[in-house]
């Protein structure tokens, strides 16, 4: 078993590394896009109660949709390959980022914002210096949930031809190659842990006040 795995790594190191790189790249891009959509959308929701009333329930519903379903539902629309996989991953990740952004912003007490205004901050300064920093812990939690979800779901993206570690896993499934399954699965788990750890580390760096 371990001999087999060692053999696999000896012969297929390039493929393996390429799969990791693809997996990481898709995931990073999806996370970036999801954050670029989710955080501004969350801010918009808080600024306009009207938007919030239909956006938040929509994304709460989207959140409970299984990732596999989203992936396959997109095939008739976008076909197969990298793009639909990316779209699916972004769709999966936006809800947790958006909903956490909204929750983080709404849980900031009114008197904090009023105090900031009373100090003579402009609206923009209040957002930058007080409101967003105070919502940051929740936003980062959303990002952390999103990144683990993305990395796990990106495995399934191989099913529609996006490549990545899922390819190794599905090949392993097809050929009854337990070594491939293990190598792929463990690497996905490791990648996921690494990403979540990095987000936590970022949080510790950005929010020193929480850890003194």
């Amino acid at each position: 078993m371990f001999a087999e795995m060692a053999g696999y790594f000896q012969n297929n190191m390039d493929d393996f590394l390429r799969a990791i790189a693809t997996h990481a790249a898709i995931s990073a891009l999806a996370l970036f896009l999801a954050a670029a959509i989710g955080i501004p959308a969350g801010i918009l929701c808080v600024r306009h109660r009207g938007v919030q009333r239909w956006v938040v329930p929509l994304f709460q519903a989207l959140r409970i949709l299984p990732s596999l379903a989203v992936l396959f539902l997109l095939i008739p629309v976008l076909g197969t390959g990298l793009l639909p996989a990316l779209v699916a991953l972004v769709l999966l990740a936006v809800p947790s980022i958006l909903l956490n952004t909204v929750a983080g912003l709404l849980q900031t007490p009114e008197f904090m914002l009023e105090t900031a205004a009373a100090c003579g901050m402009t609206r923009g300064q209040i957002w930058r210096s007080v409101w967003l920093p105070m919502a940051l812990p929740m936003i980062l939690t959303g990002i952390k949930n999103a990144v683990t979800e993305i990395i796990a779901s990106a495995t399934l993206a191989a099913k529609i031809g996006a490549g990545g570690l899922g390819e190794i896993i599905f090949t392993g499934l097809g050929l009854y190659r337990f070594d491939l399954l293990l190598a792929g699965g463990l690497t996905v788990a490791l990648l996921s842990l690494l990403a979540a750890g990095s987000v936590s580390l970022l949080g510790r760096l950005l929010m020193r006040y929480k850890y003194v």
Binding site: P109, F111, M112, E114, T115, A116, A117, A118, C119, G120, M121, T122, Q125, S129, V130, P133, M134, L136, M207, R208, Y209, V212
Partner: protein, 254 residues
């Protein structure tokens, strides 16, 4: 010229039947320590927030040193007025020094001037700068946090200070100490203080003049001695009586 003047000011909240602040007129001079006394919900906070324009009046005008605040740029106005609240509202993600420096930063003071001012204020409120400047609010006791809140409000040397029940949430011993220190700080700076409280002893101890409010209106505005000698109406009389009863209670006990 008055430091602050209210001219027939009214404020009504949306969906409310009566005015939260109802045809209020009064004037205070520079250097005065005015306390505003009244029971919860009588409009004290609303009155204070009209001064730094967190609320806009529905009628009447408010003058600061002769200038109608409605004509002032609102952020500039606020940077010239210190504001302290019961919930303190220190920014948890900023150090003590950064909290104190908020308004000076907004005013683009130079770095050296800001750090010198921060240390000066920490000393003024009785917290050694070396020990406290790089702490976060979460590492301070309630009384210390309120000291920082006070220092932040004083940072840009405003001529007017608004204090909304600043000691409402601290224990009685700390409270008495903070009251004493606040009096000293006021005496040394020549600023005008508007200090809101629902505690009658606090109001009479701190204020050189006391505004007594009920249901959005000013019932009486006078020195503590005059209010005690000539209470304006039945409400003020009953307030005085409650203090006497409390005193009798303690005398019998001790």
């Amino acid at each position: 010229m008055h430091a602050i003047e209210f001219c027939d000011v009214s404020k009504k909240f949306h969906g409310s039947a009566q005015n939260a602040v109802d045809h209020v007129s009064f004037a205070a001079e520079e250097g005065e320590f005015i306390t505003i006394l009244g029971s919860s919900g009588c409009g004290k906070t609303t009155l204070l927030k009209l001064v730094n324009r967190l609320y806009e009046p529905d009628a009447g005008s408010i003058l600061l040193f002769g200038e109608d605040i409605a004509d002032a740029d609102v952020t500039n106005l606020r940077r010239r007025i210190g504001y302290v609240i019961q919930q303190i509202g220190l920014f948890p993600h900023m150090t003590v020094a950064a909290n104190i420096a908020v308004v000076p930063e907004l005013l683009h003071w130079e770095k050296e001037r800001i750090s010198a001012r921060t240390d000066e204020l920490l000393t003024l409120v009785g917290l050694p700068p070396e020990e406290y400047r790089s702490r976060y609010p979460g590492q301070l006791s309630g009384g210390q946090q309120q000291r920082i809140g006070l220092a932040r409000a004083l940072a840009a040397d405003p001529k007017l200070m608004l204090l909304d029940e600043p000691f409402g949430a601290v224990d009685p011993i700390t409270r008495a100490k903070l009251q004493e220190e606040l009096l000293q700080i006021h005496g040394g700076l020549g600023k005008t203080f508007l200090f809101v409280t629902h505690d009658i002893e606090e109001a009479f101890r701190l204020g050189n003049r006391v505004i007594i409010m009920n249901a959005g209106k000013i019932l009486q505005f006078d020195t503590p001695e005059q209010i005690i000698k000539h209470p304006a109406d039945e409400f003020v009389v009953s307030m005085m009586r409650s203090v006497q009863e409390k005193e009798r209670f303690w005398r019998e006990l001790l």
